[in-house]
């Protein structure tokens, strides 16, 4: 009876070792804090109405940022734990983590960073910025948007759930290669948590991909042909086309692994006809395009930033677009380079090696395009430009090591070594993460209404660069020394320990960089008034997102005017149009809780499938279907705002924020880090003094 009700769940699942308990306690405390604050400030209804059920891509974008930022901290703590273990665990010392636990930590680190941090930030940016860039008011399907977000959150909860129930995550590496991830070698619930957290958020991503493609292809401003779209929109389009092409492969593969584990089938097992190599092929058919999915929007961001801050049109627009397209096309044909060492033979290996080389061509074209854009420009080195310069150096390092790995005989010596780990961190941190930071610091004024503190921003940037070099250059060296990845312990005679210690110190410096980024945001909030963006266009931008207020009104644009050229806003500024706007009725989608309800049932179903609670799984799946059908009966999904109201709102807004010359608050009058520390100390002392006075 108990087995029927609870499946594999029993008291053993509760946390019983120090790390699990610590994790559980932190999550509980965090949750309690949020609940207490919301109750105290009586903001539950506000939260539900304004944010959780919102279908506004701007709000969903911000929610993506918040969740992704939280996961960045969690993934970063995982990274510090990994570095610390490897720095300590030499010779007779075995560090502070058991081998199994260490393996779970790096698996979680990889999954969190790729699926929940990078995808989260990228989706947040695309949600917020792409509709603004194409002069649309919303995405094509507001429902799919909110559903995709909440499925992502359900995945986030699943990947954190194991602290509370189960005390184990997959210990297989971030892609859970079979047969290690089968029940024979991983009998616990860890891999099941892995499967379902990725499966739900993967489906959310696919839905988001469909939505973005619909939006970009069908909702552009009149006159904006594809060849007039901004670069970030192009990067997002190519990325989303890849999403809808390869995420279904992931869905199917995870489903097959689930069948192996849940029903005892033999797709990927070592016995009874299973073929583990099939899993490797399938998962990398998804896995390689995934990293290009992450980096293409980043390329788009860099193109925008370079053009804007060089005050020059992007050089050879066509080449850049074709290059991005080439990257996405060829990304689909290189997956075997992840397992040259499996023994497929020289012909197969050569083919995939050559295809991998070919990707280097469009990537180089992109870099040359950026050089050509800066040539004879007038470059302002605000923080976004710094992130770009940092990206070039680090990404080139990653690219070169990638080309070396693409040569099969060289790969035989470098595969699964720390050289490989350094390679992909160089490309992902240098490309994707720096792209995200660049995009966020570039579009922050648009999103928040005030720009970020430049001085602390630059400090954070340099921390990241120094920390990165300190962490990853020794890693390349360790790879050359023959150090394998994922080792929880190694011989003292290898001489690797000093390098691991250097890596750990580098990691601490990166942590300082992240802390400084948080400080940057807080300092900017403190100096909000001074840093305010009153015109909506603080950087003298070239694309349409700067043609509306900062932050934009909920309807984005009061009027959808046609577009005639690339760099639409620059053209408008040149022409100096002063046409009286013609207001029309606007249809906006209503908020809906359908996304949350469906995602909640999806979460329940996956949780049940992890623990083999069959009746609950059926309830969950039935719930999803019922909610979806119930939603189809809801005809009242839009509301209309009459033109007169829009006119009123626009005139009110113009009165409140008189457009003036772009805010030119001097960067060197921004708060410095030392100023910030002084302010914090003063505030702390004030609090203590007030408390003292009270007790008196």
């Amino acid at each position: 009876m108990k087995e029927f009700l609870l499946g594999k769940l029993d008291l053993d699942a509760l946390p019983h070792d120090i790390f699990m308990i610590a994790g559980t306690v932190s999550f509980i405390l965090l949750g309690l804090t949020v609940i207490v604050v919301l109750t105290w400030t009586k903001r539950w209804t506000w939260l539900w109405k304004e944010w959780l059920t919102s279908v506004d891509p701007k709000k969903i974008g911000i929610m993506y940022f918040l969740v992704a930022a939280f996961m960045l901290v969690r993934g970063g703590i995982d990274a510090i734990m990994i570095w610390l273990q490897q720095a300590l665990s030499s010779g007779s010392s075995h560090g502070y983590l058991s081998a199994d636990h260490f393996q779970q930590i790096f698996t979680a680190h990889g999954n969190i960073m790729v699926f929940f941090v990078a995808m989260g930030f990228i989706f947040g940016l695309i949600n917020y910025i792409v509709p603004l860039q194409i002069r649309a008011r919303d995405l094509a399907s507001p429902l799919l948007n909110t559903l995709g977000f909440w499925l992502y959150v359900a995945g986030v909860i699943m990947v954190n759930m194991f602290f509370v129930l189960g005390s184990e995550y997959a210990a297989t590496g971030w892609l859970a290669i079979a047969p290690l991830s089968g029940t024979e070698f991983s009998p616990g619930v860890g891999v099941d948590y892995w499967i379902w957290s990725l499966q739900i958020s993967g489906i959310g991503t696919t839905l988001g991909g469909i939505n973005f493609i619909m939006t970009i292809l069908k909702m552009r401003a009149p006159g904006m042909t594809l060849w007039k779209m901004p670069m970030f929109t192009w990067g997002s389009l190519f990325s989303m086309i890849m999403v809808v092409t390869v995420f279904p492969l992931l869905t199917a593969t995870l489903f097959l692994l689930f069948l192996d584990r849940y029903f005892g089938m033999h797709f990927f097992t070592t016995d009874l006809g299973g073929n583990a190599m099939m899993y490797t092929n399938l998962i990398w058919m998804w896995g390689h395009p995934e990293v290009y999915i992450l980096v293409l929007p980043a390329f788009g961001i860099f193109s925008e930033v370079v053009a804007t801050f060089s005050r020059k049109k992007i050089a050879s627009y066509s080449s850049q677009v074709i290059a991005m397209g080439g990257v996405s096309l060829f990304a689909l044909s290189v997956w075997l380079h992840h397992f040259f060492t499996m023994g497929a033979g020289a012909d197969v290996n050569s083919f995939f090696g050559v295809m991998t080389m070919i990707i280097a061509i469009p990537t180089s074209v992109l870099v040359f395009g950026w050089i050509a854009t800066m040539y004879k420009g007038r470059i302002k080195f605000a923080t976004p430009m710094l992130w770009f310069l940092g990206f070039i150096g680090i990404f080139t390092l990653g690219g070169m090591s990638g080309v070396m790995l693409a040569i099969p005989p060289a790969d035989f010596q470098l595969h699964n070594s720390l050289f490989l780990v350094a390679h992909f961190h160089s490309t992902v941190i240098g490309g994707v993460l720096f792209g995200i930071f660049c995009g966020i610091s570039y579009w922050f004024p648009k999103i928040a209404g005030f720009r970020l503190n430049e001085r602390i921003g630059k400090n954070a940037f340099w921390c990241w660069i120094v920390g990165f070099c300190m962490s990853f250059i020794p890693m390349y060296v360790l790879g050359i020394m023959g150090a394998t990845r994922r080792l929880d312990h190694y011989d003292a005679s290898t001489g690797w320990q000093p390098l691991y210690i250097m890596m750990f110190i580098g990691g601490l410096i990166i942590a300082c960089g992240v802390a400084l980024q948080v400080v940057q945001i807080i300092a900017s909030v403190i100096q909000k008034r001074r840093l305010r963006d009153t015109t909506g266009d603080p950087w003298n931008g070239r694309t349409l997102e700067w043609a509306t207020a900062s932050p934009p009104p909920f309807y984005n644009f009061a009027t959808i005017e046609p577009v005639t050229t690339q760099d639409a806003l620059s053209e408008i500024k040149k022409q100096g149009t002063t046409v009286e706007p013609k207001y029309e009725d606007i249809h906006m989608p209503r908020n809906t809780g359908a996304g949350i309800y469906i995602a909640a049932f999806a979460f329940v179903a996956s949780f049940a499938l992890v623990w083999h609670i069959n009746w609950l799984a059926i309830v969950g799946i039935a719930g999803i279907i019922v909610c979806a059908i119930a939603r189809t009966f809801n005809d009242d999904v839009e509301y209309k705002i009459p033109a007169a109201t829009i006119k009123e709102m626009e005139e009110q807004r113009k009165k409140d924020t008189p457009a003036s010359a772009p805010v030119d608050s001097k960067e060197n009058e921004d708060m410095s880090l030392w100023d910030f520390i002084k302010i914090v100390l003063k505030w702390a002392l004030d609090v203590v003094r007030k408390r003292r006075l009270k007790t008196w």
């Binding site: 290690l180 080449s319 060492t341 090696g353 074209v365 060289a410 035989f412 080792l487 290898t494």
Partner: protein, 300 residues
């Protein structure tokens, strides 16, 4: 804020970067003085060829990367807004020839690399026998949790987590696994790795040209005891190898079915073991267990 500071800022940054990286390099070089930088100290033909290939690739890439990066950072510096002397053409129309160069230069490099890669991939294919004067030696390797079992079929001895080979002798390692996830057989000083998987018989050919002890490991995670799955590969002179064979023949332990079953049980940090005899056809039995045969060499 004094204007000088802003002007010198890029120069300061560049100096700091160069100084920082140099310090880092020096510290690392100092720390690694007499350590085994395995890939840079090839002790066999295969590893040597692989290293040469890596250097060629690196050289070609630096040939394009260094000018490109220099151009980029120089352009960024020259056209900074505080440099009023630089020209500013906000709507400069690009010329066709520039675009052509942008695409052709990387294409040429990629082609050259591909033309180098394809023949060398065929030449360095792991299952290709190495041509040498001495007669080749076959060693059958079974990856288990979490140890390596080496069977010498011709000499009828076996070892665990230790393998000895004579120098200048081509060695054919036949790799498979038993009750273990995918493992990767790797002796970095001697050459690249190859996967050892259940139901597959992969062939890795290596040769050592210098006597010495070389570390070997599994380069693919295969469970909790993964880090402890290390072995020593000793290359010795032919005479020393023959002596070792004699010593092995005097070892009390024997790798029979019972002992093999004991080895199959998962164990971590297994110490080296030596067996004076093995059951004949043991390796073939392992392959048959998973429905494969010895004729199946690596291509799946």
């Amino acid at each position: 804020m004094p204007k000088n500071r802003k002007k010198n800022s890029p120069a300061r940054a560049l100096t700091l970067i160069i100084v920082g990286l140099s310090c880092l390099t020096l510290v690392i070089a100092f720390l690694l003085q007499d350590k085994n930088i395995a890939l840079l100290h090839p002790k066999g033909l295969i590893a040597q060829e692989q290293l040469i290939l890596m250097f060629i690739a690196l050289g070609l890439m630096l040939l394009i990367a260094i000018p490109a990066l220099t151009m980029l950072y120089f352009t960024a510096w020259k056209y900074r807004e505080s440099n009023t002397k630089a020209e500013h053409e906000p709507s400069k129309r690009h010329n066709r020839s520039l675009v052509l160069v942008m695409w052709l230069v990387p294409a040429v490099f990629a082609t050259v690399l591909a033309l180098i890669m394809i023949p060398s991939t065929h030449r360095l294919e792991p299952n290709k026998s190495i041509a040498a004067e001495n007669k080749p030696l076959t060693i059958q390797v079974v990856a288990m949790r979490w140890k390596w079992v080496f069977i010498y079929p011709e000499q009828n001895i076996a070892t665990v987590n230790y393998v000895q080979i004579p120098e200048d002798t081509p060695v054919k390692f036949e790799l498979t696994a038993d009750e273990a996830p995918m493992s990767s057989f790797w002796i970095p000083n001697l050459g690249g790795m190859l996967y050892a998987m259940t139901g597959h018989n992969n062939q890795l050919n290596l040769i050592a040209d210098t006597p010495g002890d070389y570390p070997g490991s599994s380069a693919e995670i295969n469970g909790e005891g993964f880090a402890g799955m290390q072995f020593t590969a000793r290359a010795s002179s032919q005479g020393d190898f023959d002596d070792w064979l004699q010593k092995m023949k005097r070892s009390p332990a024997v790798l029979d079915t019972a002992e093999y079953a004991k080895l199959l049980k998962p164990s971590e940090d297994t110490p080296a073991a030596f067996y004076s005899a093995t059951e004949p056809g043991m390796y073939a039995t392992v392959l048959k267990k998973y429905g494969a045969s010895e004729g199946h060499h690596g291509h799946y």
